[in-house]
Structure formats: C-alpha cells, structure tokens
Amino acid sequence: MTIKITLDPITRISGPLSIEVEIEKNKIVNAKSSGVQYRGFEKMLTGRSPLDAVYFTERICGICSVAHGVSASLALEDALKVKPDANGIKVRNFAHAADFLQNIIRQICLYVFPDYVKISALPGSIGGDFRLPEKYTEKINEDYIKAIEYSRLAHEMVALIGGKVPHSHGIFVGGTTVSLDPFKIIRLKSILQSINDFIANNMVEDINIIAEYYTEYYKIGGGTGNLLTYGLFDEMGEGELHYVNPSVYIKGKAYKLNAKAITEGTAYSWYSGNKISRVPSMEPTETDIKKEGAYTFIKAARYEGKVMQVGPLARMILSGSYKNRISTMDRLMARVLEGKKLSEKMLKLLEIIEPIPAVQERYTIPESSVGMGLKDSVRGALGHWLAIEKGVIKNYDIVTPSVWNLSPVDERGQHGAMEEALIGTEIKDVSHPIEIGRIIRSFDPCLSCATHVITDCREPYYIDLI
C-alpha cells in the first residue's frame, strides 16, 4: 500500500514550500518538492535602469538580500566594464560574509534547533522525538535566546556598511558607498569578536550535542554527491583569507567551474514549454499553471545535465575543509563550521581593510552590453545575468541556490537534489513523519528566491569562468 503525505506549510524556512512524498512499507519511494509561490522578478526588471538592479533584486529575498546585491553588483561591473576599488571589494566581501553569519545563526538556532529540541519560547510542537537530557535541552534553549541577539548583531555589521538591512544600500557597483574610519572599524571588530565567540563556543558544541543524540541522521538524507560552488573569498589571493574557488565535483573528481555548462529545464514546472535553456536565456515567456504533470514554480537547474548539490557542505568539501560525506547531519555540521571559519577569516580581513572614504564614480550606462555575476550566497551558488539594450535592462536572468537544491524532476527523469535526499528514507512513524522536515531544513530552503519566469533559448552568449 502506498501512502501519500503532503506537508504544507514547511515552517521555519524562508518562503512557502510544499512537500509531497509517497511511502511504501515505511520507506519514501517518491518525493516532490513544490515551490508554491511565484513573483516574476525577472519580468519586472525588463525596461528598468540597469543600476537599479542592485536595490531591486535584493528585494527578492528577506533573509539573503545582501547576496543578491553582491551578484547584481558583479554583473553590472562586468557589463559596465567597471573595475571595483580594491578596498571596496574587501568591504563588500566583509558585509557579504556578515550576512552569512546572520543566516547561519538564524537558520541553525531558530529554524533547526526546534526540529531536535523542545524550545519553550515557541508555540506548538512537532511531536515527541526529543532525545536530549534536560541539561542539554536547557543549554540549547539558552542558546536559542542568545541567537536572537547574535543574529541581530550580525545584521548590525551589515548595516554599519550598508546603511540598513534587509535590503542594504552600501553594497554597490564599484565596491561600497560607506566611508570607513577607525571608530567604525573597531565597532565592527568588537561585534565580530562576540559573534565569533558565540559560534565557536556555543553553536559548535550545540550541533555536536544534537549530532550525538541523533546519529542516524549521518546516514539519512544524503542525495547526490555532485557538488557545485561559484566561489567565495576566491578573489582574496591564495593566503589565509582565501576560501573556495568556483568549482564542481562530479563522480569523484573536482573541476573548475564552466559557467556555460549551466542549464535550466521546465519539464515539470509551471511554465510554458519544456525546453532546456542555456543560462542565460534571453526572452521571458509565461507561466502555465495548467500544465500537465507540472508541480512547482521552481525550474530544474543542471550542470552538464547533472543534478548538483550546493551550499555550505558543498563549499566545505570543495575547499578541503570537511570530509567528503553527505547527509542531513553533515549539512548542519558543515554550516556551523563554515560560520566559525568565516568569522575567523573576517577578523583577518578587517585587519587589511583601510579606514578610508568610499571610492565611487558616476557610472555611464552603455547603449548595449551583457554582464554576469556569479558568487556563492549562504545557501549556495547565486548567479545574475543581465543584458542591457538602449541603456535599459533588456533581460535579467537569476539562478538561485534553491533552484539547484529544490529543483523538480527534469526531462531525463532525474530528481532534484532534495527530492533525491528524501527518497529511500525510512519513516519510523508515518503519522508523525518528522524525518521529512529535518531533511528538508538541512538544505536551508529559500523559496523567496524561487521567483523565475522561463526564458526561451535564443543566441545565448558564453562566458568561461576559469
């Protein structure tokens, strides 16, 4: 007998996600990840002033807005042939990483902890599989409360550079708009040191406690071993600031990223047609919510036709910072350890950031041009591609991390990474399928970012990212 379970809403993620699984003899035999929100940002961007893309696209996502500002700035710098200021790049990278810390603290403590520990500050319950002894439950409840403070502090660092956040102003073409001085530097440093302490001393211990009591999650929810990153801190030289280069890992071998190998398909998505488009594709078409077999607003991003996993675990493995092991618990562990690693790198980065005024220009918009901005956000690879014609945006294409991890089945019948991670999982109690939510949250889904319109493939341009 096959049991079908639909979980909607999946809470404690960013944006609305619905998950449908089929279970036979307590095992998941099929899974559908369904993004149940559509906004159409790419369609809105057509015809707008190119420089507005930075502030406009940040508003795709409330929890990772800085990442969109960074990718949009990179794409514009590429299109406008602007060489960003060296100090400006460091400041922008610092703000980008500060938003990573905000994300990591909120995701692990506010979103994931309640999966494994009864959090008394929260209403409701997901059932009784809470295994921690009282002293650890108390500790993690205390850290849940502290996480509210430290995630706010992480956003204070972004706001010191960006004016405000979510939806900052100071991450911009050319680097940044903020003029730094010694007081701002020491303020950033003091905040960062306290966050670094919290992650290194509290969160690392917390996640190890959880891992110890839920060991089977090292064997659950793996999914594809193919990994992808657009890089992070890769322009910071080869020294101790460097983190991970744009790269992929396919069937046991690592390669440099080749941006022209990225495609998006819509075989099972609510968009008209079912073509495979190279990214970027050049002309928006329409949604088709009556499409036979379709079940999501998320497209199927693939690399050389393959399903890829993106995010902290992918970056940690590709940078040689974590053993090559993929599971629900490894994704959580890697996220916390990445937070520690990044906050340490940020402390070093701060030492070489100069307390000087912003370097900005009056940028000239070309009559026509194209640009690409690829950089990892906390959830994984985030790409912005734009085309300018007659001085305005002709086409804007965005491929978000959730389009990689949460993608549906593609035209070849391959499940997306999270679907694959769910399939094969044993469900202990079908009336309380808690394993499902735990696996899903380890991917840190962001549905706010799944905002696409399909674009037809027409004269794609190719850029090698080597």
């Binding site: 507005d52 406009f56 409701g124």
Partner: protein, 274 residues
C-alpha cells in the same frame, strides 16, 4: 464559575494579559519578519514574552504541515491581532501563493488572510507590499498583487517600509497592546512614525539648504540631485534609524529610495541618477 476556571487556566498557561498574534507571510520576500527579529530595546524576545502570544508564524513556529494550519485555525477563535507581510495575489484562485494543504484541500494565502481578517481584533499591514502592494506589484505586476486593504476592501493599519523597520512595527503593536488603538493618518499609517518626511529631519539638510550637492554615491553632501526621495517620503528613518538605530541609507552616502511610499518602486525609479 466557568469564567473563574477559564481565568485560572489562562494564568496557568501564562497567557493572562497577552493577546494572541498571527503573523502571515503573503507574497513577498519574508524580509519583514527578518527585520522584526532585528528589533532592539525592546527586542523580539521581549515581544514574545511580554507583549503577545505569537501563535502563528511560518518562519518561527515549531509545528509544520497540518498541525501548523490547525494552530492557525484554533487561534481564529480567540482574541488576536493579525499581522500580514507581503502583498496579496488572488488571481487564478490564489494559485501563486499557497498557505497550506489541509485534509486534501489546498488553501491559498488569500483565503487564509480573508478568513483571519474577519475575526481579527486589529489588522496590521507590515511592510510596503502589504501596505501598498509594493515591489511584488512592480510593473507589469505578474501576479496581480494588491495591498492588504485593497484585497480586504477595508481599512487596516499600514506600517510601510521595505522592509518595515522593527521599531515602527514594535511601536504600533505596543500602542494596540497598551492603549487598544493607534493614531493613523489618511493612509492608515501610525502618526508617531509617519508624520514628517525624511527630508524634514535629515542630517544633511544644511547641505540642501545651501545647495551643496553630492556628485556621486559615497559623497557626504545632499543626495537630492542623485534622486533622493527623502523630500516626498514620510517615515522615521533619520530619527529612529535602522538596525539598533546605528545607520540609515543617507548615513551610508546613498539616497533614500522612498521604499515606504505608496508608489514604490515604480514611482521611485530610477533609484540612482547622475
């Protein structure tokens, strides 16, 4: 006797003086709840412990799936404040924004909001999308988004801002909790935060008055010639500032882009001009 027992039960639950709160995330970026978590003095924790019982919040609640929806339904039979962020899309029966799947039926956000609004004691639109449709309705408005008041066909309290500043949301809820009302202007905006334009209180006002203009972002002078919308944007930014009151866009050498305005973003563009 029954009333006394209810009172005892409520005190036992620790819910004695607090009203319930439902926070719905409609079509938007879920950035208003993130912004709200940035609140300080009082912070989000004080809000949870002392001001309201947060019964429903997709970003924060422990329950998921049908149980989460049941908690929503149960709260509808109590005294509660409804907060909605994001704008409302109701084309194609609300298909572009789904709230829950319950007992074989898909419930759209639009349906859930309409249901909750019927019973709510107060309704707050949190952020520019809920207040005025905002960026979710930017040209060509692909999902037919409307404001919360437009969708419901009735007045609500509007706390615009992209995102809503946590200080403004906290102050608005405080007014409702402490005094059971909040004074608003003709657009439903709390007067304590939306009385003056950002220009009135701008720290760069003397540059404006002396016609000393910034040439580019990153400069320290008046941003008016670069497209600053401070003169036409009523908000509290120069006074309350952002993120624990430490900065705001003008303090960051960039123009106000009018994100709290009724016509944001289409009426604010281009955000930057040289």
């Amino acid at each position: 006797m029954k009333i006394a027992q209810e009172a005892v039960d409520r005190i036992k639950e620790g819910n004695g003086n607090k009203i319930n709160f439902i926070w719905i995330e409609a079509n938007g970026c879920a950035g208003d709840i993130i912004s709200f978590l940035n609140a300080d003095e009082p912070d989000a924790l004080y809000f949870l412990k002392e001001m309201v019982n947060l019964k429903y919040s997709p970003s924060l609640m422990q329950a998921e799936g049908e149980r989460a929806y049941e908690e929503f339904l149960e709260t509808l039979n109590t005294d509660f404040i409804l907060g909605v962020e994001g704008s409302l899309t109701n084309v194609e029966n609300g298909f572009y924004d789904i709230f829950a799947y319950y007992k074989g039926k898909t419930i759209s956000v639009a349906e859930a909001v309409a249901k909750a609004a019927e019973k709510a004691k107060h309704i707050i639109a949190i952020g520019t999308c809920a207040s005025f449709a905002g960026i979710s309705a930017a040209r060509p408005n692909p999902t037919g988004c409307t404001s919360l008041s437009g969708f419901l066909g009735r007045e609500v309290i509007n706390v615009p801002g992209c995102p809503a500043n946590p200080l403004w949301v906290m102050g608005t809820v405080a007014s409702l909790v402490l005094y059971n009302k909040v004074e608003v202007d003709d657009k439903g905006r709390p007067l304590m935060f939306f009385k003056d334009t950002n220009h009135v209180n701008c720290e760069r006002r003397s540059y404006f008055d002396n016609k000393i203009n910034a040439q580019k972002l990153g400069d320290k002078e008046c941003m008016f010639k670069l497209g600053c919308r401070g003169p036409v944007t009523k908000a509290y930014c120069p006074i309350g500032r952002w993120n624990s009151r430490i900065n705001w866009p003008v303090g960051d050498n960039t123009p106000c882009i009018g994100c709290a305005n009724e016509y944001f973003p289409d009426g604010s563009e281009p955000f930057v001009r040289y």
